[in-house]
C-alpha cells in the first residue's frame, strides 16, 4: 500500500476529486496548508507596515492506494491538477506499513 501526498493549488480540488472518483478512488483527506517553492509570494501593506508574504495557500491531499493502482492515481492527479504555471505543486509517495478500518477492524488492503 502506498500513501500519496499531493500539494495542489486550492482551486484544483474539485478537478482532482472528480478524476480520482473516475478511477474508483473514493477516499481522500484534505488539509489547508501554506507553503512556497518557486512561486513568488506577495506584499501586504497596513498603514506603514509592509509584510512580504512568502507563503501561499495550498491544499494537501492524502490518499491511501493499493500498490497496483498507484500509477493510475499519480497520472490522474497530475492531469487534473496541472495548469502549466509555476506553483502547480508536488506529489510524494511513501509506503504504508499498516491500515485499519476503525468501524469493522478490517486490515491492510481490505481497509482501503
Amino acid at each position: 500500500m502506498k500513501l500519496v501526498t499531493a500539494i495542489i493549488k486550492p482551486f484544483k480540488l474539485d478537478d482532482v476529486r472528480e478524476a480520482l472518483s473516475n478511477i474508483g478512488i473514493q477516499g481522500v483527506t484534505v488539509t489547508e496548508v501554506k507553503g512556497f517553492g518557486r512561486q513568488k509570494g506577495h506584499t501586504e501593506l497596513y498603514r506603514g507596515a509592509e509584510y512580504v508574504i512568502d507563503f501561499l495557500p495550498k491544499l494537501k491531499l492524502e490518499i491511501a492506494v493499493p500498490a497496483d493502482q498507484l500509477d493510475r492515481v499519480l497520472e490522474a492527479i497530475q492531469q487534473a491538477a496541472r495548469t502549466g504555471k509555476i506553483g502547480d505543486g508536488k506529489i510524494f509517495v511513501v509506503d504504508i506499513e499498516h491500515a485499519i478500518r476503525i468501524r469493522t477492524g478490517e486490515t491492510d488492503l481490505n481497509a482501503l
Binding site: 501586504e44 501593506l45 497596513y46 498603514r47 506603514g48 507596515a49 509584510y51
Partner: protein, 458 residues
C-alpha cells in the same frame, strides 16, 4: 382703590418677568442632547473597540475590547464623582472646584448654559454628554500600548491620567460662566478672568481637538516610548486580524461623530447644523484623501487606508466643526488626512516608538493639524463663522488669521506639554506600583488567555 388697581398690572408684569428670567430647557434641545450622548457612547463601544480590536492579532482581541469597555465605564463613574466638578465649576484657570462633587445640589430642574443667551439644557444631560467625552478620550490611549500592557495598569493609568490631564485641559479649554453672564464690557472681563486659561485667550475648540485628540495622542506616544516595542516588532508578522471589524468600527465612529461634533453645540440649532454638515464632509474628504493619496503613493488603495482616512478627517474637523464653513471642512478633512498618512509612515519611522495603533499618528497629529487649520478656516473670508461678540450680540466684523493661528498654536503647545509631562509622571507611578508591561511569555502567548482567561475565537 383706583391707585391699587392701576398698580396691579405693573406688579403682574414684574412677577411674570421674574419667573421668565430663569430659562427652562427646550424639549427639542434636550432630546437632541440625549441622542448625541448616546451617539458618543456608540463611538466608544463598540465603535472604537472594534476599530482597534480588528487591528491587533486575534490572540489579543479581547484585551482591546476589555480595556476600552471597562475604561469607558470607569471614567464615566469617576466623572460624576469628581470629574465634572473639577472640569466645569469655577476654581482657577486650570482646575475647577469641589462644589459639585458627587453632583451634589444638582436636580432634574438644574440647567446648564449653552452658547446662546437664554437657552439652557438640563444639567444632567450636559454632565452625561461631557462624561462620554472624558471616557472616550481616555480609551483612545489604549491603542498605543496595545498587545503588551497589564490590564490593572491600564485601568490605573486611565484613572490617574483622566484626573491629572483630561480634567485640567477640559477646564482650560471649555470652562466659562456661560453667555448669560455677559451683558457688558465689565461682565465680559469678569467671565474671562474666571474662565479656563485657554478659553480666556480665545482658543477655538468646538468639540475637542485639543481636549480629546491632542491630549490622548501625545499621551499615547509617551506611553509607547515608555512601555517599549512589542516582542518581535518588525520581524514577527503583526498584521491586523480583522479589517472587516475595523471597518465596522470605523463606520460606527463616523456615524457617532455626528453626536460628538454637532452635540457640542449643546442645542439643536443652526450651529449644530453647521457642525453636522461639517462632520459629514470631514469624514468624506478624509476618506477620499487617504484613499487617493495611498493609491498614488503606494500603488493600491487599502481598506485600512479608507477607514483611517475617515477617522483622520473627522479628527481634523473636530475643533473647527462649529466655526468653519462646509468648503473649509472639505479642506480641513483632506489636509488632515494627508498629514496623517505622513504621520503613520515616515514620522512613525522617525519617532521610533511602537505606537501600535497609531494613536499619535492619527489623533495626535490630526488634532494638531485640525486645531491649527481651525484658526484659518474660521475666518469669514474663507466661509467661516468668525468670532462672536456676546456684549454686542453679533458676529465680530474683523478676523485676523495670523492672530488666531497664534492663539491656536498656543493651545496646541500647552496641551502637548501638559499631557506629555502628566503621562510620563503617571506612567512612572503605575509602572513603579503595579508594573505596566506583561512578561514576554504572556505577551507571546497572547493577552486574551493570559490576562482574561478567554479566547476570542475557537
Amino acid at each position: 382703590m383706583k391707585r391699587l388697581l392701576f398698580c396691579l398690572p405693573l406688579w403682574a408684569l414684574l412677577c411674570t418677568s421674574a419667573i421668565a428670567a430663569a430659562p427652562i430647557p427646550n424639549k427639542a434641545d434636550s432630546a437632541w442632547m440625549m441622542v448625541s450622548t448616546l451617539l458618543v457612547m456608540l463611538m466608544a463601544i463598540p465603535g472604537l473597540a472594534l476599530f482597534y480590536g480588528g487591528l491587533v492579532r486575534s490572540k489579543n482581541m479581547l484585551s482591546i475590547l476589555m480595556q476600552v469597555m471597562v475604561l469607558f465605564m470607569l471614567i464615566s463613574v469617576a466623572w460624576v464623582i469628581y470629574g465634572y466638578s473639577f472640569a466645569f465649576t469655577g476654581g482657577n484657570a486650570f482646575f475647577g472646584g469641589i462644589s459639585k462633587l458627587f453632583l451634589q445640589g444638582i436636580t432634574p430642574d438644574s440647567t446648564a448654559a449653552t452658547f446662546s443667551k437664554g437657552v439652557v439644557i438640563p444639567e444632567f444631560l450636559f454632565i452625561a454628554f461631557q462624561g462620554t467625552f472624558a471616557a472616550i478620550t481616555t480609551t483612545l490611549i489604549v491603542g498605543s500600548f496595545a498587545e503588551r500592557a497589564r490590564f490593572g495598569a491600564v485601568i490605573l493609568f486611565g484613572l490617574l491620567w483622566f484626573t491629572l490631564s483630561y480634567l485640567p485641559i477640559a477646564h482650560m479649554v471649555w470652562y466659562w460662566d456661560g453667555p448669560d453672564a455677559i451683558h457688558d464690557a465689565a461682565s465680559l472681563e469678569q467671565v474671562t478672568r474666571q474662565a479656563g486659561w485657554l478659553w480666556a485667550r480665545g482658543a477655538l475648540d468646538f468639540a475637542g481637538g485639543t481636549v480629546v485628540h491632542i491630549n490622548s495622542g501625545i499621551a499615547g506616544l509617551v506611553c509607547a516610548y515608555c512601555i517599549g516595542k512589542r516582542a518581535g516588532y518588525r520581524t514577527v508578522g503583526m498584521a491586523p486580524h480583522s479589517l472587516t471589524l475595523t471597518m465596522v468600527g470605523a463606520a460606527l465612529l463616523c456615524v457617532g461623530w455626528f453626536g460628538f461634533n454637532a452635540g457640542s453645540a449643546l442645542e439643536a440649532n443652526g450651529t449644530a447644523a453647521l457642525a453636522f454638515i461639517n462632520t459629514f464632509l470631514g469624514a468624506a474628504a478624509g476618506t477620499l484623501a487617504w484613499t487617493f493619496g495611498e493609491w498614488i503613493l503606494k500603488g493600491k488603495p487599502s481598506m485600512l487606508g479608507a477607514a483611517s482616512g475617515a477617522v483622520a478627517g473627522l479628527v481634523g474637523i473636530t475643533p473647527g466643526c462649529g466655526y468653519a464653513g462646509p468648503m473649509g471642512a472639505l479642506a480641513i478633512g483632506s489636509i488632515t488626512s494627508l498629514v496623517c498618512i505622513f504621520g503613520v509612515t515616515r514620522l512613525k519611522n522617525w519617532l521610533r516608538a511602537d505606537d501600535a495603533l497609531d494613536v499619535f499618528g492619527v489623533h495626535g497629529l490630526g488634532g494638531i493639524t485640525g486645531a491649527l487649520l481651525t484658526g484659518i478656516f474660521a475666518a469669514p473670508s474663507l466661509g467661516g463663522t468668525g468670532l462672536f461678540d456676546y456684549v454686542k450680540n453679533a458676529a465680530v466684523s474683523t478676523y485676523s488669521i495670523s492672530q488666531q493661528l497664534t492663539i491656536q498654536a498656543e493651545g496646541v503647545v500647552i496641551t502637548l506639554v501638559w499631557s506629555a509631562i502628566i503621562s510620563l509622571l503617571v506612567y512612572g507611578i503605575v509602572n513603579w506600583t503595579v508594573g505596566f508591561r506583561v512578561t514576554e511569555e504572556d505577551e507571546r502567548e497572547g493577552l486574551d488567555t493570559t490576562s482574561h482567561g478567554e479566547a476570542a475565537y475557537h
